[in-house]
């Protein structure tokens, strides 16, 4: 690990300003992803600003009837919150499907949204990777791609977003609240938060340099049967090959987002009109522009079958 200096932040705006004005500075919260990457020198910040002392660890009702989740709420606490379990089951389920108990105790809501891809070529520093070293090329394309993206890919990158939580946040229409280095705040809809790789796969979110997530808000509960189904190579503690987050209403209408298939949680609102016609029609509409590789083409039928299982479970 490269040496770094360390300070504890005393205010969200102060932390944002400090990261913006200090070259090589990064925020650290749970640290479960950042420290892993620092040990591999994939991340090499020269200054860390510890935001754990900021009081951003509460879950509060919003005036609109939703919930405001502080950026530092740990994944365990979010999944265990009675309101989340009762009204936002897809979120509790997605969180519990991710990582291990030890990691969920540390990992934060904001950090989960910012975790980096687990593409093996991003992790292998002997390989070119446009995400790790912009302009160096993509060793994944033409490489071993079984885990990688099938849609929204570019010539520069075919990595996936690894988060389960983000898939649920997408289906729930969550909004990311931030503070910028100048102290101003803004609200970023989750659909605009994560980016597709395009020519700049190293730019993964809509955040500006130094911009700090302070909370994620959920709109009022929408009811329905809420399901998160994750398909993976082992029953626990593995990243998704494919996952489906869904909220299915009694009249057969539904919202659906996919994990494990793209550089961001994959939701196509226009395709949701097909859901009452069945999983095949809906999956085809969601993945119409898919460009799978030989190794990961299995994800296309796997999405259809997983969605079929979710819709069947929702019908009861």
């Amino acid at each position: 690990m490269k040496p770094f200096t360390y300070e504890r932040a005393t205010s969200p705006a102060g932390a944002a300003a400090a990261v913006a004005r200090t070259p090589g500075a990064k925020f650290i919260a749970g640290g479960t992803n950042l420290l892993d990457l620092m040990k591999l020198q994939i991340e090499a910040p020269t200054h860390l600003i510890d935001v754990n002392g900021l009081s951003l660890d509460r879950i509060e009702p919003t005036p609109e009837g939703g919930l405001r989740i502080g950026a530092l709420v740990r994944n365990t606490d979010l999944a265990a919150d009675a309101r989340i379990r009762r009204d936002y089951g897809v979120l509790a389920r997605a969180l519990l499907a991710g990582a291990s108990g030890q990691l969920r105790n540390k990992a934060t809501t904001a950090g989960n949204l910012l975790q980096r891809t687990r593409c093996p070529y991003f992790y292998d520093t002997n390989m070119p990777c446009n995400k790790r070293q912009p302009g160096s090329g993509c060793a994944a394309i033409g490489g071993i791609t079984r885990q990688l993206a099938v849609i929204g890919v570019s010539e520069a990158c075919i990595a996936t977003n690894p988060s389960d939580m983000a898939v649920a946040m997408r289906v729930l229409d969550a909004v990311v609240e931030t503070v910028r280095p100048d102290g101003s705040t803004r609200r970023i809809p989750i659909e605009e938060f994560h980016r597709l790789p395009g020519e700049t796969p190293h730019i993964e979110t809509a955040l500006e340099p130094g911009e700090l997530i302070t909370a994620v808000t959920l709109p009022p509960p929408v009811g329905g049967t809420q399901i998160y189904r994750k398909v993976r190579d082992r029953a626990s503690y593995a990243f998704a090959l494919v996952s489906v987050g869904a909220i299915v209403q009694r009249d057969g209408t539904a919202r659906v987002a996919l994990g494990g298939v793209a550089h961001k949680p994959w939701r196509v609102e226009a395709a949701e009109a097909e859901i009452p016609r069945g999983a095949k029609a809906a999956a085809e509409a969601m993945l119409a522009d898919a460009r799978p590789t030989h190794d990961n083409a299995f994800k296309i039928p796997l999405v259809e079958r997983t969605l079929g299982a979710v819709l069947a479970e929702a019908r009861g």
């Binding site: 490269k2 770094f4 640290g31 479960t32 892993d36 510890d50 108990g101 540390k106």
Partner: protein, 217 residues
């Protein structure tokens, strides 16, 4: 007869080797320092030190550490609490599991300096050879290990798992999210998935934990 001079352990030998390497390097560093009049310039890439105070197994400890030091390395290398093990050092195996403020975490994936004021419990704090924690005794009784390297992490994790179930925290396999979870074998298996045992002692580990949970295996 055994020569006491040769009774050095492997650990002493490693520490001794590291110390002599540091001694060789030291004169160069001192020379560079005296060459400046305004104090040691902070060379790019130089280690940064930071002070941290926390409680480990009930005892207050203060350390001056390279900021890069993980909590795991602080426990093992600076406090000589070598019960907590380093396996993968990347949060994948769980050998480094200990409790911080009552919650289990991977001590390899957290910086020691981030734990100012925290209360840390390692396997040494759970019990001692002549006064075993019930979970330690159950692992012995059920042969919940072979080589033993993952065992401190397994034991810290399992003590925390039963607390998490008692606290009503759901898991991936909890059928009804609004119901109180039970310490079934299925629940324990899921909740222990962050602790890998390469010897494959899993079935005996489940037996040990279910016994402590007060349920038949």
């Amino acid at each position: 007869m055994r020569n006491p001079d040769l009774a050095a352990t492997r650990r002493d030998l490693m520490i001794g080797t590291a110390a002599s390497a540091a001694a060789v390097a030291a004169p160069c560093a001192a020379g560079a320092q005296t060459a400046t009049t305004t104090g040691p310039a902070k060379a790019a890439g130089a280690a940064a030190m930071s002070k941290v105070s926390f409680t480990v197994n009930g005892e207050a400890r203060t350390l001056e550490l390279d900021t890069r030091t993980s909590l795991l390395d602080a426990l093992r290398e600076h406090l000589q609490l070598t019960g907590t093990k380093k396996g993968c050092d990347h949060g994948q195996c769980g050998a480094c599991t200990a409790m911080v403020n009552g919650r289990r975490i991977n001590t390899c994936l957290t910086l020691a300096v981030m734990h100012e004021g925290d209360s840390i419990t390692t396997v040494e704090g759970l019990g001692s050879p002549d006064n075993l924690h019930p979970m330690q005794a159950a692992f012995v009784r059920h042969d919940g290990y072979q080589c033993g390297y993952c065992t401190p992490g397994q034991i810290c994790s399992s003590v925390a798992v039963l607390e998490e179930i008692k606290a009503g925290i759901p898991s991936h396999v909890t059928a009804d999210l609004t119901a109180v979870p039970q310490a079934t074998a299925e629940e324990i298996r899921e909740r222990m998935s962050g602790n890998i045992c390469r010897c494959g002692a899993y079935s005996n580990i489940i037996d040990a934990i279910t016994e402590v949970a007060g349920r038949p295996a």
